[in-house]
């Protein structure tokens, strides 16, 4: 079998806090094939964005560092390459869309200038070629009347259009991997649906692999082939999306799926109570402890869970769950 496009092995990212060092990512491994799509899910603070930043070589300076593990992209080891090489990869081969489109666009330049800038820097296009290419890209992300809108400033666009501009910028260098960190959180559902359709279509057309970070299981189901459930910096569960939704093997995954009021096609008078996951994610300084970090919220907890970090139980088709009682779920 050929090597995957991206292979992350036993990744550990540490953050220096006031009261010590915490593993914000603790022994994470996963693979992403060319043209594949994978989603990261989990509650706030579980390390989803940190994983993306680690891959991009954009960890918070002086605070975060890769302590151990490997990130192999297209045969190249990213944890040891030079800053210069990382920058080149970031511009050309892996690009990222951030959570808040307004803050990541520069308000004083037109969207065309911002897209053209990327094209000139990374593909060495001439000024006019870059401008024409910017129009094509806006068209590709379905901004109506791209030829005119290319001269708009960000504030002249709606939230959904700004996010599409961000996608256009991310695609400008025809990346092999597109990382989208909650690309639709601030948008209306109808706009979100359009962005999802757009990403799926671009993936089909260009073969770009997509890593999407989200907290919405529904979004995962629509967008990804495989998913990784993160909890407190660790991989709680990963595997094929349909398979996990049908039969989650980690209590956290199960909770995440059933705590959301999913819209139902046919309603009757019956009302059910939502399944709760009691409590909250532990604070960062507790990450890394040798126990199951989900134990305080888990309804299957036993003494073993409190004594030792659970190993990953392996199921079919690459489904793995880090739970002592995974087999019983």
């Amino acid at each position: 079998m050929s090597e995957p496009l991206l292979k992350v092995q036993n990744l550990r990212i540490e953050l220096s806090l006031r009261d010590g060092i915490a593993p914000v990512i603790d022994d994470l491994s996963f693979e992403l094939g060319a043209g594949e799509s994978i989603s990261f899910v989990g509650e706030s603070g579980c390390g989803k964005s940190m994983t993306a930043l680690g891959i991009m070589g954009l960890l918070p300076e002086k605070v975060g560092r890769i302590a151990s593990g490997t990130i192999t992209f297209d045969g190249e080891e990213l944890t040891t390459v030079t800053q210069k090489r990382l920058r080149a990869i970031r511009g050309n081969e892996i690009s990222m869309i951030f959570q808040e489109p307004m803050t990541s666009l520069n308000p004083v330049y037109t969207v065309g200038e911002q897209i053209a800038e990327v094209l000139r820097a990374h593909q060495g296009l001439s000024k006019s070629a870059a401008w024409n290419c910017a129009i094509e890209l806006l068209d590709a992300v379905r901004i109506p009347n791209a030829r005119r809108r290319v001269s708009d400033y960000p504030f002249q666009m709606s939230g959904g259009q700004r996010q599409r501009v961000m996608i256009a910028i991310a695609l400008a260098c025809e990346p092999k991997i597109l990382i989208a960190d909650e690309p639709t959180t601030a948008l209306d559902v109808t706009v979100q649906a359009e962005i999802f359709d757009l990403l799926n279509e671009l993936k089909r057309q260009t073969g770009t692999a997509i890593i999407m970070i989200t907290h919405d299981m529904g979004a995962v189901a629509e967008m990804a082939e495989r998913m990784i459930v993160m909890y407190a910096g660790r991989n709680a569960e990963q595997g094929p999306v349909e398979q996990i939704i049908d039969h989650p093997r980690h209590p956290y995954t199960k909770g995440l799926i059933s705590c959301v009021p999913h819209i139902m096609a046919t309603l009757n008078d019956e009302r059910y109570e939502l399944t709760e996951i009691a409590g909250i994610v532990p604070p960062l300084r507790e990450f890394g402890q040798d126990r199951c970090l989900f134990a305080s919220r888990c309804n299957m907890v036993s003494q073993k869970c409190l004594d030792k970090r659970p190993p990953e139980a392996i199921f079919g088709d690459g489904q793995r769950a880090a739970c002592w009682h995974a087999g019983a779920i």
Binding site: E43, S44, R142, P144, S158, G159, G160, Q161, D188, V189, T190, Q192, A193, E194, F196, D197, H215, D216, M217, G218, A219, V220, A221, E222, E242, I245, G255, L256, I257, C259, V260, P261, H262, I263, M264, A265, T266, L267, N268, D269, R271, E273, L274, T275, E276, I277, A278, I280, V281
Partner: protein
Amino acid sequence: MMIDDAQTKLLLDVQNLTVRFAIKRGGLFGKAKHLYAVDDISFQIKRGETLAIVGESGSGKTTAALAVARLVSAYKGRVNLNGTDFLSLQDEDLRQARSKMQFIFQDPYSSLNPRIRAEKIVCEPLDNLDTIPKEERQNIVDKLFEAVGLHHEQQRLFPHQFSGGQRQRIGIARALATQPDLIICDEPVSALDVAVQAQILNLLRKLQADFGLTFLFISHDLGVVQHMCDSIAVMYMGKIVEYGDRKSLFNNPLHPYTKALLSAVPSVDKKRRAESKRILIPGDPPDPLDLPKGCRFANRCPVAQGRCQSEKPRLNEVTQAHSVACHLVNETGIAPIHE
């Protein structure tokens, strides 16, 4: 005179509510224009029930709720709360009536004063009202903390010492302090993680059952709305475009916008994904300062016809429990878009 059952149960009756904001445009000599954020909407809530308002960002949900509570002033319309004409009340009458209507806000981080202890935050509405003797207030605060699932020891803490979900619990306890009839929840769980969201939604429903609360519940999350509401109003650009009880509206959505909204919700249910076709409504809503002559949804509507461009659709009853503002539905009584 016969008073029918529905009327005795009615807690809130809002008629023809309109809110407009003056907007200056075009520099010093530009004429002030008016933005009609809420344009002639009417709705009712029965005691002990929940009415949800849904709609996209900017559709006027928050403005409508603020106007009901007199936190922005209505330009036109009436708000009848429990038989009194709420908008015309003055001074002490107003203060008393206001205590019967409380707000829970979206952002548990900024809606609580960071320098005040939790117990004081919860007690404040009682202090302001000053109808209950001081000695009894502590007792009420204790009960409220228990009711929303906070520990007694946590009363002395400041807001930053709580998690997001706990802060929202404080907001709920505070809203309950004056034993209100109506609680307006404006996106009460949008800022929370899904797991915590479930805790708060269950809590709200439990409190509703225990205390007979009535909710005006604003959300853009249709799953949450479906779970919480008894009836629902769908807003688009300041107008209610569809209004009905929970079952009628979700089982038989009629307005093209409602259809599009429902079809856009991502689903974990393989069957639902396979069965429902996504209805795309590309483009942006119109400029609220320059509204089209006809239906406000016409420029995005996949089935719009000539009449939709030129004539405003009225909100018409399809059944007693279900009204829609769409020319095509009005003609036929059936949904113009079907999967």
